[in-house]
């Protein structure tokens, strides 16, 4: 078996340790002797998803996110939407998550069109939502821990489910108790920290989704997750008290 991961905009969306998510997926595939290649698609490069099995997109600084919006329009957006409808696995974090939505409205009313791949939108607020984040994710039967830092409040539209229910922190918008988004094989979250290394169950769930899309039912061999579990449990315990 083999997975080809496309890392979109590693050159600009690299703010909160996002490369750690790609590294985590790579290692957990390698440790199981599953082949893995990562193709980085920076600004200005064509997004050809034909040979790709999954896509990762992270978050960045506002300054750089403005740089890429022009690049994302048109063909890249069309390819991304088609791939998502086709069932390709996507993991999107923070700014990348927002970009999958329809638009971002700044707190003073300026509207910025995004890809519209998912029925969700984001409204900017003056206060940033910053701090440790924990949410319950039924799909993996575990709590997910991370750190959030965003001023955008995201609201899910029809057909889009949350990834989990907030236990500690703000999540999508600080008011409806929802965190992240699920649509077809798209996983989106505000949690960095980074997300996957200390949430190995979530990482494996995403990898399994991508592998099954390609190969049908797949059984992932168990790994020694003692380091991962220790980091996860430390934060889970701390946020419970």
């Amino acid at each position: 078996m083999e997975l080809k991961i496309c890392h979109l905009y590693p050159d600009v969306l690299n703010l909160y340790g996002d490369r750690g998510n790609v590294l985590c997926m790579r290692r957990r595939l390698e440790w199981r002797s599953i082949g893995v290649t990562v193709e980085e698609v920076p600004i200005g490069q064509k997004l050809d998803l034909a040979g790709c099995d999954m896509l990762f997109i992270g978050g960045g600084q506002d300054f750089e996110q403005e740089v890429l919006l022009e690049d994302l329009k048109g063909e890249k957006t069309a390819n991304l939407k088609a791939a998502i409808e086709d069932g390709m696995t996507v993991l999107a974090i923070c700014g990348g998550y927002q970009m999958l939505g329809e638009y971002y409205e700044t707190w003073d009313g300026t509207k910025c069109e995004f890809t519209g791949a998912l029925a969700l939108y984001t409204v900017g607020s003056k206060e940033r939502m910053i701090g440790n984040l924990m949410f319950q994710c039924r799909e993996i039967g575990s709590n997910v821990v991370g750190f959030e830092n965003h001023s955008g409040k995201t609201y899910l539209g029809p057909g889009v489910r949350p990834l989990g229910t907030v236990l500690d922190g703000f999540g999508n918008n600080g008011s409806d108790g929802r965190e992240g988004a699920r649509y077809r094989n798209v996983y989106a979250s505000y949690a960095h920290g980074c997300l996957l290394p200390k949430n190995p169950l979530l990482c494996d769930q995403i990898l399994r989704t991508a592998l099954e899309w390609k190969y049908g039912a797949v059984e992932l061999a168990p790994l020694d997750d003692s380091f991962e579990t220790a980091a996860h449990d430390y934060m889970e315990t701390r946020l419970r008290h």
Binding site: D11, V12, N14, L15, Y16, G17, D18, R19, G20, L23, C24, R27, I43, Q61, D62, F63, E64, E66, V67, R128, I130, G131, N132, F147, N149, H192, G193, C194, P197, K198, D224, F227, E228, A230, A231, Y234
Partner: protein
């Protein structure tokens, strides 16, 4: 605390106390403390009567308290000069009251995103501070495209300083904190990079480029485990210097200190000599001897600084032990995700030369996880949250130990070392 009370009584107290004192403010993301210690040494050697805010008292209340302590009851400062290290966020508040003769800006890097936000926000804070001191000479790092962009936005006289040559023979790819032009958002082109986003940049679209520094490092002769031998250029003069701290980033700090000297009209030859014998700040490449083993402590705050430490470590040719202490208190930055932006894979690439890694601090488990995913063998990664035990185990291999703590971990760990092994406390 006394500073806070004094400010309540007289908000402009600092303004009163600082009258007639020649003040130099040092601000920026990395290198504030070391640059300040270098400037301090040059003042000492020049026979200048001065005081400096030490032990991290770099907020407005702390600075006011320092001035009060060094003033007579009638509010006259006992010294002619004052050196203030100012936190990027506190700088604008301090600059409101203090009319500095010179302001030294070291650099801007991503740092504690939960507190400072993006690099452009930090730049704005520095601009707001400098704006309040139109008479101050600004000493700006020409190699930092963010700081340098202040030229033309402020009326101040500027002394640009920079490094005219790559520092390391081989350079690794690291995340740039400012790849796109601050003026027009096109991607910069570099003639060379020294580290991070520092180097000789130019924007092919709008023409914004590295200003030519008046004061520069024109040659790096040696940079090893203990020190660097460099040559400064000031106008037509070449001034050799030995910097008694290792690491490329300390070459920048030395250059910043030279620029501060030039701003005050000090003799550059003498300032250069001071660089060879200044005493480093606590935890800044500080050396200890524990049970006959050499231990060096290197404070880390952010990816840029941490990558610099790795550049230093990977130059080594002898085996060593590495210790990382990660805390997530407010002063460390509550968000630790930056450890995934640091290229720790470079330590794995050292193979057996790096014999063991110990991790400690509040977020030790996350640090251990980072090294595991960097490919370091799990049986040689040890979690030890007790600082006393940590040091005992780290020195037990009879190999040099390099300790890399975040800020509050450094204070705690240094406390342990002081108590157990009889070193000076950090506030002494």
């Amino acid at each position: 605390m006394p500073g806070r009370v004094a400010l309540r009584i007289c908000p402009n107290l600092l303004g009163v106390l600082v009258k007639d004192v020649t003040v130099v403010i040092v601000t920026g993301t990395n290198g504030k403390t070391t640059t300040s210690r270098m400037i301090e040494q040059s003042w000492q050697d020049a026979g200048i009567s001065y005081f400096a805010n030490k032990s991290g008292a770099n907020l407005l209340s702390g600075v006011t308290a320092e001035f009060a302590v060094h003033s007579t009851l009638t509010g006259r400062c006992r010294h002619t000069h004052a050196l203030i290290e100012a936190d990027e966020a506190a700088f604008q508040h301090i600059a409101r009251y203090v009319h500095a003769a010179a302001i030294v800006m070291t650099n801007i890097f991503r740092d504690q995103l939960d507190r400072y936000g993006e690099v452009t926000h930090t730049l704005e804070k520095l601009r707001l501070g400098a704006e309040q001191c139109p008479d101050a000479i600004l000493c700006i790092n020409a190699d930092d495209s963010l700081c340098s962009s202040l030229q033309g936005e402020l009326p101040n006289k500027i002394i640009f300083y920079g490094v005219n040559t790559p520092i390391y023979a081989s350079r690794v790819e690291e995340v740039s904190d400012a790849p796109y032009c601050i003026r027009c958002k096109s991607e910069y082109v570099y003639d060379y990079v020294t580290y991070g986003h520092l180097g000789s940049y130019r924007c092919p679209h709008c023409g914004y480029s590295r200003p030519k520094p008046e004061l520069s490092v024109c040659r790096v002769i040696v940079t090893d485990d203990e020190h660097s031998e460099i040559v400064f250029r000031l106008g037509d003069r070449e001034i050799p210097a030995s910097v008694n701290l290792p690491g490329g980033y300390n070459i920048y700090n030395a250059c910043a200190a030279m620029a501060a000297g030039a701003a005050l009209g000090l003799d550059p030859e003498k300032t250069a000599q001071s660089l060879s014998h200044f005493s480093c700040g606590f935890g800044r490449m500080e050396k200890f001897e524990i049970s006959g083993t050499d231990v060096r402590m290197i404070l880390i705050k952010n990816p840029a600084g941490c990558n610099q430490v790795l550049s230093f470590l990977t130059q080594r040719t002898e085996p060593f032990v590495f210790v990382a202490c990660l805390n997530d208190r407010v002063q460390d930055g509550r968000d630790i995700s930056w450890i995934w932006d640091v290229d720790f894979e470079r330590l794995t690439a050292l193979g057996g030369m790096l014999s063991h890694i110990y991790v400690s601090g509040v977020r030790a488990e996350d640090m251990a996880l980072r090294f595991l995913y960097a490919g370091f063998p799990r049986e040689r990664i040890h979690v030890q949250k007790n600082y006393g035990e940590l040091m005992e185990q780290a020195v037990s291999h009879k190999l040099p130990v390099f300790v890399m703590p975040t800020y509050t971990a450094m204070l705690d760990l240094r406390g342990t070392i002081s108590r157990r092994y009889g070193y000076k406390q950090y506030w002494e």
